[in-house]
């Protein structure tokens, strides 16, 4: 019995492109937690994240054979997840009540914010407290590595809106994280 868990992403992607579901399952287990974490920070909702990642992986399975650099499969999967997640964000009804509820999924709750024990916990809290649109832009730029124009397209807003949101998010994050230098 061969152990596919030792295989490179590229090999697993090649086998998946050829129709090997076992190899695809290894890829999904390997990168699923990252994709889910990314989608959760992006959408602010674990349920939306699960759905977005699942949709993305179904799309990926069909499209794998068209992927040119199979070694970059995680980055490619992340880009599909971004698209599926932002599709969901665009379909959402704007509702501040819902937004607040979503915020509670992230970070560790406001009462603990003051005693964040690490830089990462502090950043988690800062991001969770950002207005939703700002947080989405921030995650897409800093983690997804997208340009302003790409983010604008994904979120269906004008590039100037993205620029404005990022300016605000940046000012907040920099000043809130200042104490952790």
């Amino acid at each position: 019995m061969t152990d596919l868990a030792a295989a490179s992403d590229e090999l697993l992607a090649q086998r998946s492109a050829d129709g090997d579901t076992v190899a695809f399952a290894v890829l999904v287990r390997r990168h699923g937690p990252y994709l889910r974490a990314f989608a959760t920070r992006l959408t602010g909702s674990a349920a939306d994240a699960d759905d977005a990642v699942q949709e993305a992986l179904i799309t990926a399975w069909d499209a794998l054979s068209s992927l040119e650099d199979l070694a970059k499969v995680r980055a490619w999967l992340t880009s599909i997840v971004s698209r599926k997640a932002t599709d969901r964000i665009r379909r959402r009804k704007p509702s501040s009540e819902l937004d607040e509820q979503r915020m509670d999924d992230l970070g560790r709750g406001p009462e603990q914010r003051a005693i964040a024990s690490s830089q990462l916990a502090a950043l988690a809290d800062v991001l969770a407290a950002l207005p939703e649109g700002q947080r989405q832009c921030w995650v897409l730029k800093e983690v997804g590595g997208y340009s302003y124009d790409e983010i604008a397209t994904e979120l269906g807003v004008a590039p100037a809106v993205v620029r404005g949101r990022l300016a605000r998010a940046r000012a907040t994050v920099i000043s809130e994280m200042e104490v952790w230098r």
Partner: protein, 221 residues
């Protein structure tokens, strides 16, 4: 129209409409950070451009350098945060996985139908290209220290006995004798195709494309 939650006391659309004009949005005074003339957002853009072309007013300004390093730090931390989230929740939910695999289509990958001789002229038998690739993979994987990657069948397979060329790439476990492993793979694939299909196998080309190692956790090389 945006879905933005307005920040307290802030006028969202006002500065959104500024478009490319971003100088000093968030900063007191007009002379920028450390008197450099550059705003936080312009410093961020500078960072995004890889600090090129170099701007002396930024590079020689201590306060700008400090802000740039802060920007880099929160950017790296943001990536670390996602990685940490993933590490904190390293397993995927089995029912979620089950739903995923119930939704993906095998048919899309089945490829061509390869005819098999039938004793009854009224019956057409065939095996899919996907199934043949699976045979090839299993044969290659059965060799110690070998994992098969890509598997390609070249040639027409319209009628029984058509001849094909099989190309496969393999990865070998570090320390496995490469030539021997590749030759064993070639033989096993050949004999497997001979016994389970009616294809005339012209050649089996094996390319060693990768070397993998076993990590203690059984994780990727």
């Amino acid at each position: 129209m945006t879905m933005e939650t307005p920040p307290p006391g802030g006028d969202l659309t006002g500065s959104d409409l500024n478009g490319g004009d971003l100088a000093g949005d968030d900063l007191p005074g007009d002379d920028g950070i450390g008197g450099s003339g550059y705003s936080l957002d312009e410093l961020s853009d500078y960072l995004d451009r890889g600090r090129l072309p170099a701007i002396a007013a930024i590079d020689d300004n201590a306060e700008c350098q400090s802000v740039l390093s802060s920007l880099e730090r929160v950017s790296a931390l943001s990536r670390d945060l996602i990685a940490q989230d993933a590490e904190d929740n390293p397993t995927v939910d089995e029912s979620w996985l089950g739903a995923l695999f119930a939704s993906i289509s095998q048919e899309a990958k089945a490829g061509r139908d390869i005819p098999l001789a039938s004793p009854d002229p009224r019956t057409r038998l065939s095996i899919t290209e996907g199934a043949v690739r699976e045979l090839v993979r299993a044969a290659g994987d059965s060799v110690d220290g070998v994992l098969v990657g890509r598997c390609q069948l070249d040639g027409d397979v319209d009628s029984v006995g058509d001849s094909i060329r099989v190309s496969i790439s393999i990865s070998v476990l570090l320390g496995t004798p490469v030539h021997e492993a590749a030759e064993t793979v070639r033989q096993r694939v050949y004999s497997e195709l001979l016994s389970h299909t009616e294809l005339t196998v012209e050649a089996v080309d094996v390319t060693v494309a990768d070397v993998h190692i076993m990590l203690p956790g059984g994780d990727a090389s």
